[in-house]
Symmetry: C2
DNA sequence: ATTAGTTGCTAAGTTAGTTAGCGATTGTAC
DNA sequence: GTACAATCGCTAACTAACTTAGCAACTAAT
């Protein structure tokens, strides 16, 4: 006998855009997994490198971003240092801290893996008009906001 | 000195929709991580359950979908059986195979975690017109196709 | 000056993956 | 029909990446 949640989803009519949205998230996850494998990295390493390429971070900041313990973050940074992808540097003002900085060679190697995806998506994006892109952006921003809200609040069943 | 890939991305103009697209993929990844944690599952378990809720699968099929070894797939199914989420059943025609079937309670528990996301995205989707949704779907399908193509072909640097 | 909190690490342990190999079974070639 | 190849799903031994607990050095707050 199906429970209430199963009954809900059985009767649920999903639009093409909604199905495509969920499939995109799943495809993005799979591609990241494939890229990590090609790069010889774990997915955590890949995500960490993507963040570090934006700006240097401390291991504790990285731990918070990746939602892992500081011990795990230390280990992860150790492995990225071993590969020559990043370097640890002393913090200018706070002697407790270090700054993890991506090396030039690390950045180049990461981009060699990520660029095909950037280029492919850029090409798709360029094939839409400004008006169309505005609609798409509004939809995607709405989806991002909805998902982000769920990250921080517990589901209704926890009451 | 920046390499060629770094120089490319430095000069790269990204549109709002392109930035939103990449941020959506990242937010989807984070939310899946959070949902897995809340459910007390690893991300592999969560992905496996999502697939099994669509249709029963054999451990070897699951291994291919998840891109893990059959040994890992066996272990994963073992743990899902231990939690009462799935059951193994003999295959009707092929005595080598088993079918992994989601239990009613497993399905209910998974949906309790996933439903808030479904509902939130459904609500967003409903706030767009048919014409707008058509544009969004075309964009998302294009993005999915582009990403799927990259899963199967090596990047240009491997030549 | 003292207390509270943060940073980043080590140690010991756990989880979930890997590779190698195997028996049972099915599929293919002859 | 027989022999061989391929597939399925598992076990064993090992590895990678995480966890919790705890610590010294340092900064923030009082």
């Amino acid at each position: 006998m199906a429970g209430p949640a199963s009954s809900f989803t059985e009767g649920w009519q999903q639009t093409g855009s909604l199905l495509a949205l969920r499939e995109l998230i799943e495809t993005g996850r799979r591609l990241r997994h494939v890229i990590a494998r090609r790069a010889g990295l774990s997915e955590s390493h890949l995500v960490a490198m993507e963040h570090l390429m934006r700006a240097p971070l401390g291991p504790a900041e990285l731990a918070r971003i990746l939602d892992v313990s500081t011990a795990a973050s230390t280990g992860l940074v150790d492995r990225l240092v071993q590969r020559g992808h990043v370097e640890r540097e002393a913090h200018e003002q706070d002697r407790r801290r270090t700054q993890v900085q991506v090396t030039d060679s690390g950045r180049e190697e990461m981009l060699a893996h990520l660029l095909p995806m950037f280029v492919a998506l850029d090409r798709l994006d360029a094939s839409f008009s400004d008006e169309e892109r505005a609609v798409v952006e509004r939809y995607l921003r709405g989806a991002i906001a909805a998902l982000q809200q769920l990250e921080t609040q517990p589901p209704p069943s926890e009451a």
